[in-house]
Amino acid sequence: QSGAIKIGTLTPLTGVGGTYGPSMRDAILGVVAQVNEAGGILGRQIEVASEDTQTSPEAAVRAARKLIDVDGVSAILGTWASSITTAVAPLAWESKTMLMCVSGADSITKLPHQGFICRTQPNSILQIQVAGDFMVAEGATQMAWIGPQTPFAASSIDILEQIAAANGAGMESLIYEADKSTYRSEVDQILRGKPDFIMLGGYAADSTVLLRDIWQAGYEGKIIGPAYAVNAGLLDTLPSAVTEGIYTWEGAPAVNSAAYANVKAILGVDEVDPYSAQTYDHASLTILAMAAGGDSSGDTVRQNVRSISQGDGQIVESAVDGLAALAGGINYSGASGPCDFNEIGDITGTQFVFKTISGGKPSEYKRV
């Protein structure tokens, strides 16, 4: 085999997910550029083909077909919404292409994917469990969950209800319709239960509206939201009074790691979006797995992705470092965390980090 090795990015560049996709793609491009500069792998350069999911499963399937059949990519990286990952998944495993996603819906890794899917986003059950325990630990007595209908809305509510019941706290929930100009009435309704700790279940766009409405309604209790929703964009958009004291959580990015610093440099930002940290890892994992297997096929990535990311090998934090140390055995640990996968492709052993916002800036509060 000769010619460049092809990998594909399939992120949302337009549509609802458009806030996230561009920097997810840039993180992948950055990794590939670094590896190419260091001489590529298997004696070949790596080429990236990028397509846009348009945040539509229908468009994403067409785009994935193009990546697989025309560009001949051996891995598709960065699918975001769960419906898109699920739509693309059969194409991936049928054509033996690796698929790495940032979707959290529990159902994804239960698909019959034969190992061709792995994800860097902890599944939603785990995420909610951790956050729910945090809320109780921070003294929540009356909890509330408010968010749009998503694949993890129902399970989020279930889990919080269990946690609340186990700890003698109250719990209310409300599923709203996304893309509205205001959620005043929804906020009134959820506040009627007099919660002292609210969890947000949406993404950045609707969380912006929601937080503003909650603040205007005069709510004084605590709020927690996922870091991908309460992200730099949201904090930029809202006056700092509104976001003061809000908690965020995410699968712990290794904030002080070289990997994290590397993504910051690639993207030229101070605060890395969890999703972009994850796609940085997607690209690094793919490249290292290919190098380890000595072949550029999707099947090789599938077979080797675990051997380079877990075990007793030398800890490496970037693809370039990993390639250098490959011979002696490596354990890749990335910007989004240690990147250890179980047999169905879920990430394990994730640490979580909680932050609080003050003066419009997040700062680390606690790790679990």
């Binding site: 992120t11 560049l13 337009t14 458009g18 996709g21 561009p22 920097s23 793609r25 840039d26 990028s50 397509e51 846009d52 348009q54 945040t55 539509s56 499963p57 229908e58 468009a59 399937v61 067409r62 785009a63 077909r65 193009k66 697989i68 059949d69 025309v70 919404a81 769960s82 419906s83 898109i84 699920t86 739509a87 998944a89 059969p90 194409l91 049928e94 054509s95 819906a105 159902s107 698909l111 019959p112 209908q149 998503t150 694949p151 809305a153 129902a154 599923i175 319709e177």
Partner: protein, 301 residues
């Protein structure tokens, strides 16, 4: 590459079915149905549930999908008989949004926003992906051919003439003795049946349905397809659908020619190309690639 072309042609086939369905409802009978995505969803979900949850054969699922969508179309048009033009448009648009909300929220039935994966496709798994795409493409072309034949036959018949009369002037058509209500319901049901068929075909081809698929963007593409192809012209509907797919897919290959664009810019550029090409084609051929012509009358034969 071949596999991609086959898959793309299959998608074009799905779009063509949608455009043909819309052509009956809007092109021939003049009812603006902005709820394409809703009927598409009904067909897709009906067939998916029939085959996945009930384990029925695919062909039965497809028949159920057509029947279900047609019945929904008949019912919706029955309820909106005295709405005209844009007033019907908003109701049908609302209908499709309601269908999407139901699909997302009634988890017990539709599995919610997780969607339904693993919908069987004909011989999927036994065939290689390439063979499967070839088979799907052939089957869809057969379906498109059949739908084309059927709607064209209707268009040329006095039935089609009555529909066009209703489209042009409902009162005058009624005074001419045409049972306007019955015609409208029939046309809507036939068109919706085709939309349902398209949905079922999509579900079995891609093996997955989820509420996100059925956003209004799809409806927009189909309206653009029919307008570009020629509203009221059966062949125009098919050609328009292929044309839109050509633009949607072709634009992927133009975008990389521009260097130094960010991800968002590249994607934006692609969509600008898509939108501009559609406007351009409408500017060049405002009546569509194939304009509607009255069917040749028997007199001249």
């Amino acid at each position: 590459m071949l596999s991609y072309l086959l898959a793309t042609l299959t998608f074009a086939g799905v779009y063509a079915l949608l455009a043909l369905g819309l052509n009956v409802i809007w092109g021939m009978a003049g009812m603006i149905n902005l709820g394409l995505a809703g009927f598409f969803a009904l067909g897709a979900y009906a067939s998916a549930l029939a085959t996945v949850a009930l384990g029925l054969p695919i062909i039965v699922g497809i028949v159920i999908a057509i029947a279900f969508a047609a019945a929904a179309g008949a019912l919706l048009s029955r309820l909106t008989l005295n709405l005209r033009g844009d007033y019907l448009a908003i109701v049908t648009l609302g209908f499709s949004e309601v269908i999407r909300l139901i699909a997302a929220n009634e988890i017990w039935l539709t599995n919610g926003s997780d969607g339904i994966p693993g919908i069987p496709g004909p011989l999927r798994g036994t065939l290689t992906p390439l063979e499967f795409n070839a088979l799907s493409c052939a089957l869809l072309f057969a379906a498109v051919g059949l739908a084309w034949w059927m709607t064209e036959r209707l268009r040329r018949a006095p039935f089609g003439r009555a529909l066009r009369a209703i489209r042009d002037d409902e009162t005058a058509a009624a005074v001419a003795g045409k049972p306007v209500r019955r015609y409208k319901v029939q046309a809507f049901a036939i068109g919706a049946g085709l939309l349902g068929l398209a949905g079922a075909a999509y579900a079995h081809f891609t093996s997955y349905v989820a509420p996100d698929i059925f956003r209004p963007l799809l409806t927009i593409y189909i309206f653009l397809a029919l307008t570009a192809g020629g509203t009221g012209n059966t062949s125009g509907a098919v050609i328009g659908a292929f044309f839109v797919i050509l633009i949607l897919e072709g634009s992927r290959f133009i975008e990389p020619l521009f260097h130094g664009l960010s991800g968002a810019q590249g994607a934006a550029l692609r969509e600008i190309i898509i939108g501009s090409s559609l406007i351009l084609i409408m500017r060049i051929r405002p009546q569509g690639l194939l304009a509607e012509r009255p069917p040749k009358s028997l007199r001249t034969q």
